[in-house]
């Protein structure tokens, strides 16, 4: 004992925690069993509360006709669009979610951020859960990946790693100004970067599989499609399997879209392929100026390739447009050309392997062409509803997404949806994780808390990062009227930028707030280094009802860039110059 007490103490805590959770679990299980066996009255109560078909299903035990009964049982469909008041108007649905003659209490379709969080939480609350996951290879290069979904495999994680690689290159150049003797000719090794990134992803995949096995979630590597609202056909490597469940959670997420032009699928790649590309991307045309397009163009530039961004209409749709234009300008300043108001017409492969892209200006109708090594489509993402055979279950679809109410329920009573597949909600991993977890707690833990999709902070990892939380300036004006909105703004100069003489032209932030009264803050926007780290804490403040008064009476940490939020004093309305005189005034 004495010999290894440090090691033991750690493991002892772990043991205690496992004993603790398992005893809780057992308690829960036994109480559930108790309810099932003794409290038949509470069950019949549930039955009368839910629609009639459920009672008949329980007595017959066989799957009924496709979905029709389910549709009848659901409340009239509403889409509250992030309206908090409307969100709580709907009562929490009470229905039997466990037991019965089904193979599982819950089948989660999709092993991404939302699905895994939901499946694990459901198991923790005593449900029998299976989780299906399947990745269709990409059409161009046949890229596929393991469990974990978009974020881990072809999204946030590899993106952030490549962004970091690009920032490090920049940092090496700056290091010289700080007195490091650096060899001028640093150059990136794309294949090594891809290898490192992929190794990290593979170990995350492994940890995910271990976690699922450890938590007793049955992981099925198969493509699921509905037979009826309680039955699913899973296509596995080894054949097909029919499984039934009381409840389904659809968390299939989305995949990149391809434009409908000649050569798009044959010669173009998407973000699904980029992070495992086995050759240097070279001169790249990035089509699309959403956050994915800008981020990819940003790190490709940082790694020494020559990206061009093609923009159909606006940059960063859905984000504050003043900030979006500043992001675009900061990228142009770094030498990334933007082809504005342009759409691609065709992609042709030349004999030397280069890709000839013909494109058109949508305003002048002028056509042009240019040669690239790689064409990357970043024109948006499509919900993966097609393979699910949703009509069999009676689930309605809206623009390849699934509309849900404030409890993530679809129009079919026992089928829910979370994550990127749901219509009109932010497509972000932490949103998906929390929504999935809360859903599982409501279904199996007796909880009532619903997901709040408002005031979610997010970051665009462009070379100069942009992070925001809350409303954009135009949304605030739309919601409250221009006369009722005050915008505090300012340019700032990060201390570390002076020595390497980095451009501070686009280091800018603003707070969108109520004009009168408490001056509640509606939204915060920050363009500058480590934007995500800066805005995360402010997001908690904003959710707690931050006011301008609190903000400017908060003492900053000097010298940081986050402190600039506490120094905001100039309003747009005043017309005063928002550029600072010096750093410490």
């Amino acid at each position: 004992m004495n010999l290894c007490n440090s090691r033991l103490s750690v493991t002892f805590v772990r043991q205690c925690s496992t004993i603790f959770t398992s005893s809780i679990l057992q308690n829960k299980c036994s109480s559930i069993n108790g309810r099932v066996s003794s409290c038949s009255s509470s069950f019949s109560a549930h039955r009368t509360m839910s629609s009639g078909h459920r009672g008949s299903r329980d007595s017959s035990g066989s799957p009924g006709p496709a979905g029709a009964a389910g549709v009848g049982g659901a409340p009239p469909f509403q889409h509250p669009h992030c309206d908090r008041a409307a969100m709580y108007e709907q009562p929490v649905r009470k229905m039997r979610t466990k037991g019965g003659t089904y193979d599982y209490d819950l089948i989660v379709i999709g092993g991404g951020s939302a699905g895994l969080a939901c499946a694990k939480e459901a198991v923790l609350n005593g449900a029998r859960v299976a989780c299906l996951d399947y990745v269709k290879p990409t059409p161009t290069l046949g890229t596929k990946w393991g469990v974990g979904g978009t974020c881990v495999n072809v999204g946030c994680i590899p993106k952030k790693l490549m962004h970091q690689a690009s920032l490090l290159g920049e940092a090496v150049h700056e290091a010289a100004a700080y007195g490091w003797n650096v060899d001028d000719k640093i150059k990136p090794d794309w294949n090594k970067l891809v290898q490192s990134v992929q190794n990290h992803i593979k170990s995350v995949n492994w940890v995910t599989r271990v976690d699922l096995r450890d938590k007793k979630v049955e992981y099925i590597n198969g493509l699921g499609s509905f037979v009826d609202s309680h039955t699913m056909l899973a296509k596995l490597k080894s054949g097909e399997r029919t499984i039934t469940a009381q409840t389904f959670v659809i968390a299939v997420g989305g995949r990149p879209r391809y434009p409908d032009i000649p050569g798009a699928v044959e010669h173009g790649i998407t973000s699904d392929d980029l992070f495992s590309l086995d050759r240097e991307p070279g001169k790249t045309l990035v089509v699309g100026a959403g956050y994915i397009g800008l981020e990819c163009a940003g790190f490709l530039k940082g790694l020494g390739y020559e990206p061009t961004v093609m923009v159909r209409s606006i940059v960063l749709r859905g984000f504050d447009q003043q900030m979006a234009e500043l992001v675009a300008s900061s990228m142009e300043e770094r030498g990334i050309p933007f082809l504005r108001k342009s759409v691609p017409l065709s992609v042709e492969k030349q004999d030397d392997g280069k890709l000839l892209v013909k494109y058109q200006n949508t305003e002048t109708g002028e056509e042009a062409e240019e040669l690239f090594d790689t064409v990357l489509w970043a024109i948006g993402r499509k919900g993966l509803v097609d393979d699910l055979n949703l009509p069999n279950a009676g689930v309605s679809v809206q623009k390849d997404k699934i509309p849900v109410d404030s409890q993530e329920a679809t129009n079919v009573a026992n089928i829910y949806a979370v994550g990127d597949i749901i219509y009109g909600k932010p497509e972000l991993t932490p949103v998906a994780v929390l929504a999935g977890r809360l859903l599982a707690r409501r279904l199996y833990g007796g909880a009532t808390q619903r997901m709040d999709y408002n005031d979610v902070a997010t970051t665009v990892f462009t070379p100069l990062e942009y992070a925001c939380v809350g409303l954009s300036e135009e949304d605030a004006v739309k919601q409250y009227g221009a006369d009722e909105v005050e915008v505090f703004h300012g340019y700032y100069k990060p201390t570390e930028f002076f020595i390497p003489q980095k451009s501070v032209r686009y280091c800018y932030l603003k707070a969108v707030a109520e004009r009168h009264g408490d001056q509640r803050v509606y939204g915060l926007h920050y363009l500058g280094p480590v934007a995500g780290e800066v805005i995360q804490g402010f997001a908690a403040a904003l959710k707690s009802g931050l006011t301008i008064n609190t903000l400017i009476n908060t003492v900053g940490i000097h010298p940081t860039t986050a402190e600039e939020f506490t120094r905001l004093s100039i309003t747009k309305r005043s017309g005063l110059d928002p550029t600072p005189a010096s750093c410490c005034s």
């Binding site: 290894c4 090691r7 493991t11 492994w206 271990v210």
Partner: protein, 176 residues
């Protein structure tokens, strides 16, 4: 061979002491039947009779040499790092003691012709030194004992998880 015998003896011993495993199958019974069934199953799960090749090494140098020798092959190499043993064959690291029978039992699930290297990391004081070469080696980056990993692959289990039969079997069977 000696190792295998020892392992099987350890298995029976440990199942006598701790018969409660999460998955109670007929083969995990701590009785004579269990032993018979264990043997029966052990033969049948590997019908081609291709055995996992077990290697025992002690210390960092022996370990590095062994890995150099094995990593040119195409077969998977699983490596178990555990604390050194005293004269009674007992390791100073309690989770290593717990993990060893589970891992040796699960070895029959490993693909035939694959290698299993059991690395005796050494004495406790040697391991506790934060500059211990096992901790510094970029291919091992050991933090916990025991650690079971597939050489130069993402599969890795450490600490308590090495004595979870389900996870250890998953490790040996994993094809990704």
């Amino acid at each position: 061979m000696d190792m295998l015998l020892k392992a099987s003896r350890l298995t029976t011993l440990s199942s006598v002491i701790k018969p409660v495993t999460p998955k109670c199958t007929i083969t995990s019974l701590p009785t004579i039947f269990g032993r018979i069934f264990r043997r029966f199953y052990a033969v049948n799960t590997n019908p081609s009779k291709i055995m996992v090749v077990t290697h025992n090494v002690k210390g960092y140098e022996e370990f590095s040499k062994k890995m150099e020798e094995l990593e040119n092959g195409n077969e998977a190499v699983h490596v178990l790092f555990s604390g050194g043993k005293d004269e009674h064959g007992q390791s100073w690291c309690p989770y290593c003691v717990k993990a060893e029978p589970v891992i040796h039992d699960a070895l029959k699930k490993a693909p035939g012709n694959s290698h299993f290297v059991h690395v005796d990391v050494g004495e406790r004081a040697y391991w506790k030194d934060l500059n211990c070469p096992f901790r510094k080696d970029p291919n091992t980056h050991l933090i916990f004992l025991p650690t079971l990993l597939r050489w130069k692959q993402p599969q890795r289990l450490d600490g308590e998880r090495c004595s979870n039969q389900d996870l250890v079997e998953m490790m040996f069977e994993d094809e990704d």
